[in-house]
Amino acid sequence: MAVSSLETGAPVEPKRSRFRLSEKWLAPLLLAPSLIALFVFVYGFIGFTFWVSLSNWRSATRDLSLRDPIWTVYERLFQMPRFQADLRNIVVYTILFLLVTVVIGLGLAIVLDQQFAGKPFFRFVFLFPYALSFIVTGVAWRWIFNPEIGLNLLFEQLGLNRVLGWFGMGPFKPGWLTNPTVVGDMRTWFPGMDGLFAQMGIPLAMIPVTIAAVWQLSGFAMAMYLAGLGTIPMEVREAAQLDGASTMQMYRQVILPLLKPVTVSVLIILTHVSLKIFDLIYAMSGSGPGFATDVPGIFVFEQTFRATRYDLGAAASIVMLVLVAFVIVPYLARSVKEL
């Protein structure tokens, strides 16, 4: 058939159909390797981790038989005062970190959106910390918050404590990362929380950690907002000005609502960075005094590799996955709907 087509000079039918066939299979074929890799190395290992969490693998000797009763390790995990403290810490840290980072990021973006000399320079300066590794940030800020030499020394040299002394007040010498105090206790407000061992308040040692994380990531939030501001057409701003809106009104009622999608993206990205935090805290304060800065990431690392409690480490990893899923799944669902 092909030959006769060539002889008559007609369009080459079979060839085109063969091409169509390959086109139909091309996309799946090209996607297959990464899909297989994705299923094996992501979902496969999530499944394996979940299996390990239910197994008897509680020592250096691998034992994948299922534990009886099967949920024992999760029960133990949530009873552990350390893990309760970890969940408290990660929630406190995430909320503080998100609030401050978004506010500072947005503020910087609005300032940098104005016309002034040296704008690219400042944009670079604010984004720069984002290029550093968390380990570097952690080590540097650990020294800054060292109670003997860091900031406290600066306060002392500036004469702050002398001024406080004039008013009959003691010297201002916070312990920063070494302060084990937990402020407030939700257990006294909610009767259902009586069974918790860890004090459910705000661990003060978490604040320096939050400051370090904000320092590193507010530049990222700023970059996202700057990109968002760049997409808002001048006409919109001009229209607002023609309608007699003040600058304040223009930002509050026109620009901020238009930036909502950016805010959602920033929040999602930062939340999952925050929930998985490990390296920054490990370098900066470790578990902290009385587990004041311990987080699930450090818990997983120590239980799995130091204590060889593979079951406990896997269970805590699954809890972390669920925490992140709470944030990511609604976001993905929304994006799919928008498509």
């Binding site: 509680r58 020592s59 250096a60 133990r76 005062p81 009385g290 120590e302 590799f305 130091r306 204590a307």
Partner: protein
Amino acid sequence: MTDLQRLIQRNRLSRRGFTAGAAALAASPLLARFASAQTPITFEEGAEEELEIFSWWTTGGESAGLDQLFAAFSAGSPDVTIINAAVAGGAGSNAQIALQNRLSGGQPPDSWQSHHGKELFSLYVDPGYAEPINALWEEQGWLDAFPQGLIDQVTLDGNIYLVPVGIHRGNVMFYNKHVLADNGIEIGDSLSVDDFFAAADTLKAAGVAAVGLGDKDTFAAPQFFENTLLGALGPESYLALWAGELGWDSAEVTAAIETFARALDYLNEDHAALTWDGAMDAVIEGRAAFTSMGDWAWGHVVSKGVEDQIGYVTHPGSEGGFVTVVDGFTLPMNAPHPVNARNWLRAVGSKEAQEVFGPYKGCIPARTDIDASLFEGYFSWSIDALASVASVTSLAHGSSASPQLRQAIFDATIPFVVDRNVEAYQQALVMAAEDDV
């Protein structure tokens, strides 16, 4: 050769390097002994080309001690290239993780460093990574050369799995002589719990922190607790506790926890910011009077050249016990170079190697037949104590409890330093012991 290969090649310690190093060290009188004596150890024939040794000895005295062990091996097997696969990190915290990865992946080194007791058994024997070395022990006559208590702690079901090289003592109380003298406090040969608290009260009244602790490292507070337990219970009950014969809910343990809580009232303010060496510095500088630590802290004192200002005594009440922190080497199942691996163990177990290793590493030899006149000052005190008092295991350094129980006790101790809730702490300890498999 690629750059990587060249880099590896450069980092391998060649025989020539060792001879040069040994010649330089021979200048010291102690080492002249080793260099001139040559090795009397008979090595097995059929050496392979390489020997890979895994440890966490990377800092000054530690790596110098390791080099001595290498030299002892090279004296008998001069043509073998030694690969030093050391991973940095205090108490093996990072090294043990890296090693587990290698072992579970079926890539063992030719020998690795391990503590004795539970850590050896749970991490290496139970999963089948270590090979019994009874034959080697008999061949070398080690059964008569090492203390029986120590042999028991490297033996499981009749099989021996470790060659101990050096012993540290964990229950030592170091103090600043000047600070105590200024406050009219005298320390005798031992220190009772009551005398300690009397001294602590005097110091507190004078505005000095009696106890220097550096619990930024997670092992420091548990080590303080284990020393307190030993002081309160005595060596027999202490060992019974780890053997599961004495309950964690017993009144003796409650009393020990109360003593621990009481001692924590005298802590230095910045304890959470310091590591153990920072706490030792606080004592050296007089900001704290006492610190309870293993005798590797004495190495820190020596490195600062302040031996004359720092005194040592056993942790309050614990003079009847010697908390042993033993370092030794194993033989892996399926060692890549089995002949070299066995020769390495022959070398490190030898009297000659242990006599030179100790002074560098800052520990005492594990063998009992060493020439005690080679050791002086603190070390001779420690050797005498090991020979005369009961040896006990250490929680903080792996030998008392499985890694799982150890972590669970650590997890209970760290909040206790802050909240001092005796009841909750004891409850957590009981639960930890119940949960241990």
